[in-house]
């Protein structure tokens, strides 16, 4: 059988050839021609995790990897530019990335912009251009954040003057900028309140009117001592606010459900004998399963100045009783120091732990049993977000 139909139009000839060759073999039939498609995401799972990859060695190419903690597959990627601020919308439908681009890659005109990605397609659906003031710093939940009702989007600025932008994501507009008098980052609460952390250990809370402009501001009492024992800014969501861990291992639970922050009595991750010797330390310093009241913290042995060294163990606490339930050495799982942890919020939770070798381990969050280590999930995974 020949297919040398030189005079026939190329397209018809090829189609005919393919069809004939597919049909010509009776047993076993050849593999059929394939459709080239774009993959659809499966339905959202609580065991997904959004992994923030700073790509520190190639920092203009940060990205967010969507990873499935059940199938251990990468589901897709969201590009994130240079030292991005990343968060999810309250309904989980949108990934928001505030980032910076330069007209010539690493040089030239700077554009700060917020990009919205549809989490069902991983396509960018819109953007809002910002003034060139976006904070460029280590990841946290407070570099960019939605109001809990999704109505406002807050973007932390630092030029180094500290302020924040108020955006209307539904209409793609910047509504305004609010000066925070030296207090930094955006901690959302209620439909219209934003708190920032001050150098004095206080929270500045700005209340917005319906137009996103400042209606009131209030400064709290200090809730930690920034000289003696500062808190990490990587607050961990609790049922009514956030828990902030201190360098020495104090847990400061902040209730933001009322109009003014309420601070619980701090409690400690470490015994008096351990204090100053065992410490929390990492980029994402803890994760809380809110329904179970469990707190997971990467801990290490070390003195002053080791607060970013990452954990050699993951300690598990019962939040209501402040009791330590377990400590899981990560070396047993083949992991180097843990820089970020996240826990799924479902009844059969899994714990994700990202190491300074860019591996992401998947543990049973109840038993601590290692299920999987995903090697090199990006270059420098420093924060993980639940879907």
């Amino acid at each position: 059988m020949g297919c040398l139909m030189r005079s026939a139009p190329l397209r018809s000839a090829a189609t005919l050839c393919l069809t004939l060759s597919v049909l010509a073999h009776a047993a076993p039939p050849p593999l059929p021609a394939e459709h080239l498609t774009v993959q659809q995401l499966p339905p959202k799972s609580p065991h997904w995790v959004y992994v923030y990859d700073e790509a520190f060695n190639n920092e203009i190419d940060a990205r967010v990897h969507l990873f499935d903690g059940d199938s251990y597959r990468r589901l897709g990627q969201i590009d994130a530019g240079f030292t991005p601020s990343v968060n999810l919308s309250p309904d989980g439908a949108t990934t928001v990335v505030a980032t910076t681009y330069f007209a010539r890659g690493s040089r030239g005109a700077r554009t700060d912009v917020v990009e919205f990605t549809d989490n069902t397609t991983l396509a960018v659906t819109g953007e809002i251009v910002l003034p060139p003031k976006r904070v460029e710093t280590a990841p946290s939940l407070f570099n960019i954040a939605y109001s809990p009702d999704g109505h406002f989007l807050y973007v932390a600025y630092l030029t180094p003057a500290a302020s924040f932008g108020v955006l209307d994501p539904a209409h793609g507009k910047v509504l305004g900028e609010i000066d925070t008098a030296g207090c930094v980052l955006v901690i959302p609460s209620g439909p219209n309140r934003v708190s920032s952390i001050c150098e004095s250990g206080r929270l500045l809370t700005v209340t917005l009117d319906t137009q996103g402009h400042e209606a009131a501001r209030a400064l709290s009492e200090p809730f930690f001592d920034p000289d003696r024992d500062p808190v990490f800014v990587q607050g961990i969501p609790t049922t009514r606010g956030y828990a902030f861990l201190s360098f020495l291992g104090e847990v400061h639970e902040v209730d933001l459900s009322g109009t003014r922050p309420a601070f619980a009595q701090p409690w400690s991750l470490v015994s008096p004998a351990e204090q100053g010797r065992w410490r929390p330390g990492a980029d994402q310093v803890g994760a809380i399963h809110r329904a179970l009241g469990r707190l997971y913290v990467p801990m290490h042995q070390g003195g002053e100045g080791t607060h970013k060294d990452g954990g050699t163990e993951i300690w598990v606490f019962d939040m209501p009783s402040h009791r330590r339930l377990a400590s899981w050495p990560v070396q047993a799982a083949g992991l180097s120091r843990v820089l970020a942890v996240q826990v799924s919020q479902d009844p059969a939770p899994i714990l994700f732990a990202a190491s300074n070798a860019a591996d992401v381990a998947v543990f049973d969050a109840l038993s601590g049993k290692l299920r999987h280590v995903e090697k090199h999930l990006g270059q420098t995974p420093w924060m993980m977000l639940n879907p």
Binding site: L10, C17, S21, L31, A33, L36, D61, R63
Partner: protein
């Protein structure tokens, strides 16, 4: 019969001296796009090469038979499959092609290597195989080119391999 593979090669050679590369490759692009859109025939796919989709030697490994001339990141490791682009990317309408031997049925298949475009490089499962691969002066057989070049968003993310049909010996 001469394979489609050879048909392409002959055609491109004979055309090369008379037409510009632009018109030639535009046709080639249309042809391959057309081919990739052929309806799936109702053929039983069970029990042959597809059964080897296990981790070892499956579509997430560079050794997978369809990848015999791939140079890039396997879309199977990036949120896609061996023949689908990851979510949020767009496939390249123009491609290079390979001829790969499927040990599952003993046949050689013509495979289109489409790049998936519009996101930065996936960085996972880099795979560089070059059976019958040719330098850039034979573009339709070259895997060094960024085949996202003609896409609206021409950034390279990963590569798929799409069976076009059997290459008769």
């Amino acid at each position: 019969m001469r394979s489609l593979d050879h048909l392409f090669e002959h055609s491109s050679r004979s055309l090369a001296r008379r037409t510009s590369r632009r018109s030639l490759l535009a046709s080639l692009g249309q042809l391959l796009t057309g081919a990739a859109l052929l309806p799936l025939l109702p053929v039983d796919r069970g029990g042959r090469a597809w059964a080897s989709d296990a981790k070892s030697g499956g579509p997430e490994t560079c050794e997978y038979w369809k990848y015999c001339a791939i140079d890039g990141f396997l879309c199977s490791c990036c949120g896609g499959t061996s023949s689908s682009c990851p979510p949020g990317t767009a496939s390249s309408p123009i491609t290079w092609i390979g001829t790969c031997h499927n040990p599952g049925d003993g046949r050689d298949y013509i495979v289109s290597y489409n790049d998936c475009c519009g996101k930065t490089s996936c960085g996972n499962c880099e795979c560089n195989r070059n059976e019958r691969e040719k330098p850039v002066y034979r573009p339709s057989r070259n895997n060094d080119l960024n085949w996202c070049m003609a896409n609206a968003d021409s950034n390279y993310h990963c590569t798929v391999s799409v069976i076009l049909g059997v290459a008769e010996k």
